[in-house]
Amino acid sequence: MNYAQGVRKEGWWRSSAATFLWALLLALIAVPVLAATDGTVIRDEYRTFMGIGSRQVIWFVAEVHLMFGAFVLGVPIFAVTLEAIGAKTKDVRYDNLAHEFVKLLSAAFSTTAALGGLLAFSLFGLYPKFMAYMSNVFHDVFYVYALLFFAESFTLYLYYYTWDTMQKHKWAHVWLGVLLNVWGIILMGLANSWAGFMMSPVAIDPETNAFTGTVSQAIQTPLWHPINVHRLLGNIAFGGFIGGAYAAVRYLGAETEKDKAHYDWMGYISNFIGVAGLIPLPFAGYWMGREVYSVSSVMGNNMMGGAFSWTFILQAVLVGTLFIGSNYYLWVGMGRIPGAERYKGSIKFIEAILLICFGIWLTPHNLPLNPEEQLLLGGQYHPTFKFLGLMSAKNAVINFIILSTFFSFLLYRRGNKHDGIPFSRQGSKAKIVLCSVGAICLLVLGWYGNFLYHADPAMFDLPADRAKYFKVPAGLLFLQMAMVVVAIGLTFINKGKLGQALYLGVGVFSIVFVLGVYGFTIMKVANPLLRNIAFTQWSMMMTCLLLVSTIDVYLFAGAKEYGDIQWGKMPAYSQYILILLCMAIVLNIGLMGFIRSGLREDWHIYGVLRDTSPWAFTPTNATMAKMVSACLVAFLGIVSFVFWLTGLSKHEEGGGSGAEETHVVKGPVKGPIPVAGIAVGAHHRSADNLSQGLGVHRSDRGM
């Protein structure tokens, strides 16, 4: 066994030990607490830790744990996707990148487990009565959770440590990664069920407030799936932007052009992943918000119009920062794409749209006024700008922001490309794929348009005369269906760009300018329908992304290039944007965690178990900002330390950051995958020969 193997083995035991310890201690704690619920009186409802308020301790530990949790659950999703892309396209860059992400994951995993153990200790120690109640409801889940944790840790280490040895069985290895994600998602779902139950408890005896249902009922609360979906997407975005910051730091510290090229590319891919996760998030958040409102109008009001409304303005700032920052990174990146200067004139228009939308996105309905301004306006609302603060305006502009971001990606993608082979001369596969995508779009739009057109207003508790309000969104969906046919037809006659423009143009017109304005009427006279308007906008927007991307792929299929993308030629300030994006999403996750948890106000379990501690009040936004900032510093501090440790072992194993075997990437590689000095595939060349010949980055893999 060489030294590198020894280092790996130590890492394995160190990480596994943390996992075992965490699971064991969780079980050990759970047993006496469960015993207590069977008759032993719990003397203290609350305890403190070294004079620090219990809430502060739990808040901090839970948030940092959740940040690590988001990272270790988000990264495997796109790591395995990247690995699968690498296996499918035979592009070794993706394989290496996936491996690099998983390396970070394995280092962060044990920290997540340790923080989970600390959180469990803190909860059981500081909130014994609350945890006794939760244990009574979820004790079976606790054991399953611990067992799943074993499964996930074993799968993770198997996935990581067999990366090289299973290169000959790449797809089996990919499935191992899929299994890792299955465990991770189930784990996340179980943990989310606790949060869901605390916000929307079910099967409660109204007299005794005791839980009378089954474990299954306790898990499947009304907010369970909204939280699941929101967190899943959030984790992908979170993992992407953290990966981006990692790449940026590595890029800034890179000493060779080869390393710069690699980390520049990693930063780009990470940003892409972050944005991909971010795009559906606003709608998932909207869905969750509506469901929160459905559970309790008090929580709903507190969230958007009450105590947390200003916190949502801060959230708007952070979300806007994420979108604008991602776009900015792309625009700067166009500087290293030969031929992209053709599109630089468009940037100012995209930027103007993004900024106007951002301005509307963060305009509150209820404006900050001083008394003089209040007198001048004769009230709290500005007669015209107040409309910008309403949900309908927000829904319209967030869709416009997403579509503008998508447009930036389109420009970036076609930056160095001439026109490709005319679509009519492409094979039948292209036609089948485009028609299939068109059929999916038609199906989605048609299904929902038909539903709205025939919907009975009574379904929404609306009077029968409100049926007319359903026709407008239905009509727009039908119009968009027609545009699907037109766009595909134009592509078939080699006018794909016109098809894209028409589809996007009509989409923007309907989503932003028609439904955005119509939403104000809906809010007033048929409020429950606003949810359907939002879904109409979202589904149309998603078909824009799907259809236009597919057309774009074939528009530039086989296109000649103006030149290779000059990876590694990004100005240093562009990397600070990646770091800023990372900070923005960490702050955002902290802020949203505060809102979700704070909505319960002075209830541990909403409406069932009241928080009678001295800390049962809603903290101010200033307190929240300090606490979330502390979490940000702690998380980034620990994660930097963990990544630094990863780098140490890397130096010991092979030396350098992959520099010795790293090559400038000149374009997609369609060759075999090199495995530890042997190329797997038709051509059995050595990895070095292959990478030298094709310009492949090859990170170190000490064997």
């Binding site: 119009g305 700067v332 630089k344 940037i347 900024l355 900050p368 007669p383």
Partner: protein, 280 residues
């Protein structure tokens, strides 16, 4: 060579910021005045203008830094101005600009720390937290029980039954609510529930305009029941500053009368109450 002439980036950026400021400070208030038919411009609050100006500055910074060429061109007049001697008019301007920097910082420090009588800008909670006891209330008149309708039919001698009687009952309740509204609420809330009652002019913060889709259309009926019952006095502490002159009607009305008034509020303003949504 016939190269297209364009405004230098630096001056283009300065002009953009000036135009944005003029639009929000002067033009938007005039357009707002035209839209709502007022006789005086309706200014945007300073806090909002500041937010928009920060966005504009961020936008300009993004624009000039997307390429190093633009950045260089933007900085050129600034560097050109500051690089040079101290003699002549340009030199004096240069020295003046350099001296202005610490003066500006000093002024900012002074203005942020010196005692001031300027009124504070307040952020206000739009929908304070409704107490739990009101949350689950249901308006019994919105979808009345058969017994309640039959009782009303017996009392009024209405000729009809089934859905017809139910509709007539709801209409009657709204009509009664309108009567109660006009007597008790109209002075402040206005005959059309748009916050323009004759007494509203005497209030510093005028009553909410119920025809605004962001007010009563966004809350459930029990919310209004709470506001009518407890008025400004029942507002929770966290909702301050809430400059409300709403009286607490408490027991002045029966519970049923309060529901009638609520139905009239929605009817007069043309809004629909927010429904306690079904869980999906």
């Amino acid at each position: 060579m016939n190269e297209k002439r364009r405004v230098p980036i630096f001056w283009g950026c300065v002009a953009t910021l000036v135009v944005v400021y003029i639009v929000f400070k002067f033009i938007a208030p005039i357009i707002s005045m035209w839209i709502v038919g007022k006789s005086v411009p309706l200014p945007l609050p300073n806090a909002l203008i500041m937010i928009y100006m920060i966005l504009a500055i961020v936008g300009v910074a993004i624009f000039i830094s997307t390429s190093e060429d633009k950045m260089e061109e933007f900085l050129q007049p600034i560097l050109g101005f500051f690089r040079g001697g101290q003699s002549g008019i340009l030199g004096m301007l240069r020295m003046g600009a350099l001296a202005a920097v610490p003066v500006l910082i000093g002024w900012m420090v002074y203005s942020s720390t010196a005692p001031s009588v300027k009124p504070l800008t307040a952020i206000r909670v739009q929908h304070p937290t409704i107490p739990g006891k009101f949350e689950k209330m249901v308006n019994p008149l919105r979808d009345p029980s058969d017994e309640r309708v039959q009782k009303w039919v017996a009392e009024t001698g209405f000729q009809g039954a089934g859905p017809q009687a139910k509709t007539a009952f709801v209409d009657a309740m709204i009509a009664e609510g309108r009567g109660l509204f006009q007597v008790n609420c109209r002075p402040c809330h206005g005959s059309r529930a748009n916050g323009n009652g004759p007494m509203s002019w005497g209030l510093r913060l005028r009553p909410a305009d119920f025809t605004d889709p962001g007010t009563i259309a966004t809350v459930v009926e029990p919310y209004l029941f709470w506001r009518i019952t407890e008025g400004a006095f029942g507002l929770p502490q966290e909702s301050t500053p809430w400059d409300s002159a709403m009286p607490a009607w408490g027991d002045e009305f029966s519970e049923e009368d309060k529901w009638k008034i609520i139905m009239a509020d929605y009817d007069l303003s043309g809004a629909e109450p927010r429904m306690p949504e079904k869980i999906h």
